[in-house]
Subunit: 139 residues, 2 copies
């Protein structure tokens, strides 16, 4: 099948599929007219990649996961380890975002949001770090 069909089957844009070939994630054949020719297994791999990417795995994780998938003798422990590390990355990001969110939500709540120029949001951003007393008082 051609790249368009592979794109439809896998749900990935053709551009992305070409990119994945470029970086060696898939290796479709070529027909005499120069078109990429995807086997069932290639389309299957692409769908695999799409799902792994949707879970936020990096390309390198995907490469490893794909290799493990192909390896009938893998130990599931290896797969689990990759997933666990990714889970930690996700947890880290969530924690980071939540902290931002908390600070920001607090500031938004404090801000009158009217025609007047007084704005605790700007005041906080402008806060000099030598004003530690102020921070201790308000925190």
């Amino acid at each position: 099948m051609n790249i368009g069909d592979a794109a439809d089957l896998s749900g990935l844009p053709a551009k992305t599929i070409r990119y994945y070939e470029d970086i060696g994630l898939v290796k479709p054949l070529r027909s005499s007219n120069g078109y990429r020719t995807f086997r069932e297994s290639d389309a299957h791999k692409l769908a695999f990649l799409g799902r792994a990417r949707a879970l936020g795995f990096t390309i390198e994780d995907c490469r490893n996961l794909l290799a493990l998938y192909e390896d009938e003798e893998r130990a599931s422990a290896v797969v689990k380890e990759i997933a666990k590390q990714h889970l930690e990355r996700i947890d880290g990001k969530i924690a980071e975002l939540k902290e931002m969110r908390a600070t920001l939500a607090h500031l938004v709540q404090e801000c009158a949001g009217d025609h007047r120029p007084d704005c605790p949001i700007l005041a906080d951003l402008a806060m000099k770090r030598c004003d530690e007393d102020d921070r201790r008082k308000s925190t």
Copy 2:
């Protein structure tokens, strides 16, 4: 003051400060030897930018926030609106990450993680979307 001092005061790497000048966020003077010369106000702006970035605001948001900060006649409503939109972006990302996390945590939990090759993580990634029955059963 030179870029190194500005970097120390603002907490930003010198590279980043040069970049911020490049994109017009700060406009330090130049002394006769070609070195950038930062006023107190420049260092202050850089610190402002650092804190805005730490809250996850985009560079364009920062540009707007900085302009509002400089504008004594701003309406706090405008600032608040920027912050609220950013808050929504953050909430969106958190939701997305939490969904990933839930899926992934479930799979990790299911996986034995031993020497055997059977792995529900890989099985899920490899799951063909035509297997809708299976998904309905397990969901």
